[in-house]
């Protein structure tokens, strides 16, 4: 994924982003700021002290829309870096994306009858708390387990198959909200509502690719680690 993927370390960072704008989010999650000029992917990663192999693996995984488990993970790949990426993604959804979307949604449905407004917002809040539960489970149970594994501590009763089995699709309910607004929204159409819809489509995609990273990159890497019992 790192050496054989579509993007290589010598490609310009700006080309990667311009060709695939959702990768802006990936930059954030690796702690890289915009404004990197003409520098290559390798130089930018060096500058920000980001593990190059992990960055390129994630980028190529997302760009190529991989949807089966990645088995050929390279030596230089850092699970610690992937965990920090996933952690930042969670923080993004919970601290920014969902609250921001809620605020916009409240404004967009202002012209609706009150009862409709109440049930739509209630739906959204329920959804947010499901996402929160889903992600905090990973933060409080899965990540600490993996960190222990990385330290060579294998005493834990937990295993990644437990996570893999209970890892559900968190984007399903956002699809419902999208459907409800498109098919049954009773108020007058407005620009803000359109913008909310665009956000819903984008958030859905973002959540799907986030789960893909967990299911097809993170979980297989942990399985490998469990088998070998050594740091990869």
């Amino acid at each position: 994924m790192y050496k054989s993927g579509k993007y290589r370390e010598t490609d310009k960072m700006s080309d990667l982003i311009c060709d695939n704008y959702p990768m802006v989010l990936v930059l954030n999650r690796f702690g890289i700021d915009l404004g990197f000029g003409e520098q290559s992917i390798k130089d930018v990663c060096l500058l920000y002290d980001v593990n190059l192999c992990t960055f390129l693996t994630v980028v190529n995984f997302l760009v190529e829309k991989v949807s089966n488990p990645v088995m050929n993970i390279e030596q230089d790949f850092s699970l610690e870096a992937l965990i920090s990426y996933l952690h930042n993604a969670h923080a993004y959804f919970i601290d920014f994306r969902l609250p921001h979307l809620r605020e916009k949604l409240v404004g967009a449905i202002e012209g609706c009858p009150e009862d409709v407004r109440i049930v739509i917002i209630k739906f959204f809040d329920e959804y947010s708390s499901e996402v929160y539960k889903h992600m905090s489970y990973e933060e409080t149970t899965v990540f600490p387990y993996v960190r222990e594994l990385l330290k060579g501590d294998r005493n834990s009763k937990y295993s990644i198959s437990i996570f893999s089995k209970r890892h559900d699709q968190i984007e399903m309910k956002i699809v419902e909200l999208k459907n409800l607004l498109i098919k049954y929204y009773p108020g007058p159409g407005n620009h803000l509502l359109n913008s909310v819809l665009f956000d819903l489509f984008a958030t859905e995609e973002d959540l799907v690719s986030h789960s893909h990273v967990e299911d097809f990159l993170f979980i297989p890497a942990i399985r490998e680690l469990e088998k070998r019992g050594v740091k990869i």
Partner: protein, 200 residues
């Protein structure tokens, strides 16, 4: 014509597979979900898992095995099979297929062949899928958003719980809404219930 059609494309050549997939994705009036099968080994497993409506397959991958037998073991009895013919082939081998596609077919040919097969297998389900909710289904939605359990709904409407579950499954399929809070939004917007009836 806008039901989602699941088509499995099986050929060992990635160039042929991707070329065909790209044509299928751009056929007007047909919405497709594509399953890509690269090896004979994975064929059975993938068919059993996804149960596609149509299988487009290089007959060399199947060889002289019986298609009927394959459909039975994979439990896809209604699946239509199209032979993807790239060389001169034994007519005996091709006889068991519902249709044939040649490498030199135009995208119109492809469209007509798929449309014909689709008409064969799907006529019955199309009209049913697109209906809005029946009166009975609406009653059930109302009960659900009031917070009643399947058991309570069954007792109230003199149905078996099994029937209630079937209705709920049909409702979910028609509306693409599964959660109770999603159904609440549906019920309020469509004025099936008032806000103070709802179990918030």
């Amino acid at each position: 014509m806008n039901r989602l059609l699941t088509i499995a494309v099986a050929d060992t050549s990635v160039i042929i597979r991707n070329g065909l997939v790209s044509l299928l994705r751009h056929l007007n009036g047909i919405r497709v979900q594509i399953i890509d099968i690269a090896t004979a080994d994975s064929l059975h497993e993938i068919l059993t898992l996804h149960k596609p409506d149509i299988l487009i397959v290089n007959p060399l991958l199947i060889g002289y095995f019986s298609l009927q037998q394959m459909k039975e073991t994979c439990k896809c009895l209604n699946m239509k099979c199209i032979a993807l013919v790239s060389t001169i082939m034994d007519q005996l081998l091709l006889r068991q297929y519902d249709e044939q596609i040649s490498l030199y077919d135009t995208s119109e040919d492809l469209y007509k062949k798929i449309e014909r097969l689709q008409a064969l297998s799907i006529e019955v389900t199309v009209s049913e899928e697109q209906q809005s909710l029946s009166a009975r289904e609406k009653e059930i939605v109302i009960c659900v958003v009031k917070g009643m359990t399947n058991r309570e709904i069954a007792d109230k409407l003199f149905l078996s719980t099994h029937t209630v579950i079937t209705h709920r499954r049909n409702i979910a399929r028609k509306l693409q809404i599964r959660s109770a809070s999603g159904l609440t939004v549906y019920a309020i917007v469509n004025k099936l219930v008032e806000l103070n009836d709802v179990n918030l």
